[in-house]
């Protein structure tokens, strides 16, 4: 084939393809992609996102097809993966970990027609929308149960990174527990990873070794709960319902519910009016909850949880004063509440949390 004929043919077929696409776009399913920091099989954070993705696909019945990429590190690799997904024609891209923030923004600049949704971040752009869940609400409720169940008065947290998202969960958990027993304290171990079952388990064991008898985690695997089960103490599930991983130790699970949001985002995109509003939902919006409370939890604790849950669902803010800081100084006066902006940049521990918050003087 001569070069000119070849070129001509290519141009013609390209033009046809474009026309064809235009005509068929109504039937053509929308392509969505999800970037995961861990494996779907983590039984926690990523698993919850994948449940949400499946709910979305089901709700839209063939109007959306989605692909996933698991185990994407929060490094330069993330940008490559996101760019690749955008180049492959995905119109909706959900990047589901805090550390993807800058990579998402960078890629979004090169693909203005693609809508990006970044979970738990704080930087947005015309085509980058942020969504997040107020996990400190179920964490507070978990704290109430912990306050009732702890005999040693020592609670433990297996924590990932000292960022506001995690610090406020530690605070809420401790505040919830101190409504039951004002002398309770919380020990925190930072593991510097979101997903590393071995390390998470070691951290849990280290806490248990120091007398902690109710654990909560802000990491993605179920290893801390399993450690609690083996050592005969209590723990909470996190992100997903983890009952099955340690039925005796499991007191309740603070879960994320992403299905509703993903469905809304996909429906809006299919309708041609993509969602652009930052969403920070909690129990009220049905984006998270405390579920599967163990039958051994006493009635008094259940009632207190149910009452508080109803209050939160009705709009009462968790971080409402009086709240004292670690050193006993008044941080939030009675009757006042932290604004969303303050909650989102919190960098201090409440009274009862032990140790120094990394990075703070």
């Amino acid at each position: 084939m001569k070069r000119s004929t070849f070129l001509g043919a290519t141009v013609a077929s390209l033009a046809l393809a474009t026309l064809g696409l235009g005509a068929a776009s109504a039937a053509e399913p929308l392509k969505a992609a999800f970037v995961y920091v861990g494996p779907v099989g983590d039984g926690g954070w990523t698993y919850a996102h994948d449940l949400g993705r499946k709910a979305m696909e089901k709700a839209l019945g063939g109007k959306v097809v989605s692909t996933i990429v698991e185990n994407v590190p929060e490094s330069g690799d993330a940008e490559r993966v996101i760019r690749d997904l955008a180049a492959k024609g995905n119109k909706l891209i959900f990047t589901t970990s805090f550390g993807y923030m800058d990579s998402t923004l960078k890629v979004a600049k090169s693909f203005p027609k693609v809508e990006f949704y970044h979970a738990t971040g704080f930087k947005s752009a015309p085509n980058v929308t942020i969504y997040n869940s107020r996990m400190y609400e179920p964490a507070y409720l978990a704290g109430i149960i912990a306050g009732h169940m702890s005999k040693s008065g020592k609670l433990g947290v297996v924590a990932s990174f000292p960022i506001p998202e995690v610090v406020r969960n530690i605070n809420a958990y401790t505040m919830g527990a101190r409504t039951v027993n004002p002398a309770i304290t919380t020990k925190v171990v930072w593991v510097s990873t979101w997903y590393d079952p071995t390390k998470e388990r070691q951290a849990a064991e280290a806490l248990i070794g120091q007398g902690v008898d109710v654990l909560i985690q802000n990491t993605d695997s179920s290893a801390p709960l399993q450690a609690a089960q083996d050592k005969g103490v209590y723990a909470f599930g996190w992100d997903s319902d983890m009952t099955a991983y340690g039925p005796k130790a499991h007191l309740a699970s603070a879960i994320e519910i992403w299905g509703g949001y993903y469905t809304k985002a996909a429906e809006a995109a299919v309708a041609g009016k993509p969602l652009k509003q930052t969403v920070w939902g909690g129990i009220k919006e049905g984006m998270n909850d405390l579920v599967s409370i163990n039958p051994i939890v006493p009635e008094a604790a259940r009632k207190q949880v149910a009452d508080k849950r109803a209050e939160i669902a009705a709009g009462k803010l968790v971080f409402t004063g009086p709240i004292k800081g670690q050193d006993g100084s008044m941080k939030v006066a009675a009757g006042k509440s932290l604004t969303d902006k303050e909650v989102d940049s919190i960098n201090w521990y409440v009274e009862g949390v032990e140790g120094q918050l990394p990075g703070q003087k």
């Binding site: 071995t198 070691q202 280290a206 032990e354």
Partner: protein
């Protein structure tokens, strides 16, 4: 502030055991002249096989056997490619890691979210297990005790047995060993399979003794640490044991210091294992002579065993 050190020691030993098992296997493989970078993959395959066996009603010994066979199966692939076909050991080993991670996560999908119905529990030695600080050494499970015995066993095999001498000579100079009438490839296959079985046992430890469940990538890179341990230990079993304890210890130490409220930056604590790696690397490479004296001379080099 109550300082109880015993939990720290217990945690360090628990982390050290699987490193020790995997590293001992790799040590034997490397002493025969083969560098198998596929440890992580073989460990994952072993972990999954043991977990699958136990959930389908196998008893613990059978599950362990399944884990070791799965590790050995991975090693057999490595052996066939590198010994028989003389492919690059580095490339083959890396592929084996990727293959093991991929296969185990694919086949393991249906096993995520279940607890192992039977697990290796600790068998404390009465009297000794309650001692402060060193007590945890006498409070291990069967695999833990086996690992300690294996240190002595591997040392005795390599230094005192005839077959061990043959294996070492194959690792030093396969050509000379061959001219003396040794069956080089047969010995190398044996060493590789032993390494694979040990890696499978280490994986079994993660699945049925430590985490007691199956999760994708549950070995979390420890295969690589075990691999590094062999070099750190300059191919000597006793030093592998010390190195494993050191590496298990630094991670445990970083977490333990936080629970007792020592005001050290958690970022510094998190970097402890890496700092330790650098320190050890620098200190052993300072003595190039020793490194060269102890490294198997034919390590990583393909050998054509035939006429």
């Amino acid at each position: 502030m109550t300082l109880s050190v015993t939990p720290l020691v217990a945690s360090a030993i628990a982390a050290a055991i699987p490193l020790l098992i995997a590293a001992l296997g790799e040590l034997v493989t490397e002493r025969a002249g083969l560098l198998n970078l596929g440890l992580e993959g073989m460990m994952l395959m072993g972990a999954l096989a043991a977990f699958v066996a136990i959930t389908h009603g196998a008893s613990l010994p059978w599950a362990l056997l399944a884990g070791m066979l799965a590790g050995a199966a991975g090693a057999l692939v490595f052996g066939f490619l590198t010994i028989t076909l003389q492919a690059s050991q580095v490339a083959t080993g890396l592929s084996l890691t990727i293959l093991g991670a991929g296969i185990s996560s694919f086949l393991g999908r249906d096993y995520v979210g279940y607890r192992a119905p039977a697990t290796f529990e600790t068998l404390p030695i009465p009297g000794l297990a309650d001692l402060p600080v060193v007590g945890p050494l006498f409070d291990l499970n069967v695999l833990g005790y086996a690992a300690l015995l294996a240190v002595v066993g591997v040392w005795y095999f390599l230094q005192r047995s005839r077959l061990g001498l043959h294996l070492r000579s194959v690792g030093e100079s396969p050509a000379v060993a061959r001219s003396l009438g040794l069956r080089v490839n047969r010995i190398r296959y044996g060493a590789v399979l032993f390494g694979g079985a040990m890696a499978g046992m280490a994986g079994t430890y993660y699945a049925l003794a430590q985490l007691k469940m199956w999760q994708e990538g549950l070995t979390s890179g420890n295969g690589w640490i075990a691999l590094a341990l062999v070099v750190f230990a300059t191919w000597r079993p006793g030093r592998v044991a010390i190195g494993a304890l050191l590496f298990g210890g630094v991670t445990a130490l970083g977490l333990w210091l936080q629970t007792v409220g020592v005001g050290v930056s958690t970022f510094a604590l998190a970097s402890l294992p890496y700092l330790a790696t650098i320190v050890v690397l620098v200190s052993i490479s300072a003595d190039q002579q020793a490194l060269r004296r102890h490294a198997p001379a034919a390590l990583g080099k393909p050998f054509f065993d035939g006429d």
